[in-house]
Symmetry: C2
Subunit: 188 residues, 2 copies
């Protein structure tokens, strides 16, 4: 993000703060280490409730946010009651938010003004994996397709560059496309 | 899930419907092919809005659900205004919902009655990846830790078995821990 135009705000991103943050982190990489968290409580059947509140970052705990609560459920065809989006839909929400923010932030750092960004997400799942009917079928998404539409006075090449940067620098995209270790512990 | 006790409902899961679904899918694997979707629109800065509505599954489009809308933002330290959870937190929400539902459904199929399930999630991210400061640092979560607490009249071994099944059969867990292809296209 070095070669950016220095200006106060672009695409709603405070570019001065962004570059100050980068310089602070270059001097002390500990500032860049974040821990994000969620809690979950099962309600009934396919219905459970997740809560997001505190996190650690920039060398301190931050518990100042109001908790955000998410209902998770399945549609009736998947044994639920439609009380919320389902887990694999939440994954697409996560991916959508991350690619969009990554695109916008890196556009701001490059000095590219953006008027609008829309994107759509579709993933294929074969439920024979989840149901244990076949060991050959992947349990997770077999693949996810994303389409972006960018409204900006930029060439197609510049828009392609932004879409490439969005992928390169998106934490959720990289968590999904590289295999990320998840360790699960039972509290006895 | 073959060796289960056949009864109407366990843990809020209609076990008859679950086994009927498994038998239908064994006769026609096309029934198991689902497509889940989300849309996203950038609002300003780190704030964007995702919408979940229709999906394809059990051989047909389902557009009957009311849309569910999610606000995505960052805290001020990450250039946002706290208008919603951030993308990597949504990923933990997705993982929490999926491991919980996977645990509950497979417990029901095994005939294990569950009184309560709580779980907590924490993931480490080094923002030098997102910011492009270091090419060596992973951009996504470096690792994610999960802890489960299960309230049930089960032995520790049976609870450990449930936690193992939750991981084995959870689509989101497998999407994250195996590398899943994501193709991103620019609409010109």
């Amino acid at each position: 993000m070095e070669a950016a135009i220095k200006q106060k705000s672009l695409n709603g991103i405070d570019v001065n703060q962004l570059f100050q943050t980068i310089n602070l982190i270059k001097n002390d990489p500990e500032i860049a280490k974040f821990k994000f968290r969620a809690g979950n409580r099962w309600i009934d059947g396919a219905h459970n409730r997740a809560t997001v509140k505190g996190f650690y970052g920039a060398l301190k705990e931050d518990d100042t946010r109001e908790p955000v609560v998410f209902e998770v459920d399945e549609p009736p065809v998947l044994l639920g009651n439609n009380l919320g989006a389902n887990p694999v839909e939440y994954l697409l929400v996560a991916l959508s938010g991350c690619l969009t923010t990554s695109l916008i932030a890196h556009a701001a750092a490059r000095g590219f003004q953006i008027r609008g960004v829309e994107s759509s997400y579709e993933g294929d799942i074969d439920l024979r994996g989840f149901l244990g009917i076949s060991e050959e079928v992947p349990v997770g998404y077999q693949n996810i397709r994303v389409a972006f539409k960018i409204d900006a006075d930029l060439s197609d090449e510049q828009k392609e560059e932004l879409v490439a940067m969005a992928q390169k620098y998106s934490p959720v995209f990289n968590t999904i496309t590289k295999s990320t270790p998840v360790s699960v512990h039972l509290n006895k």
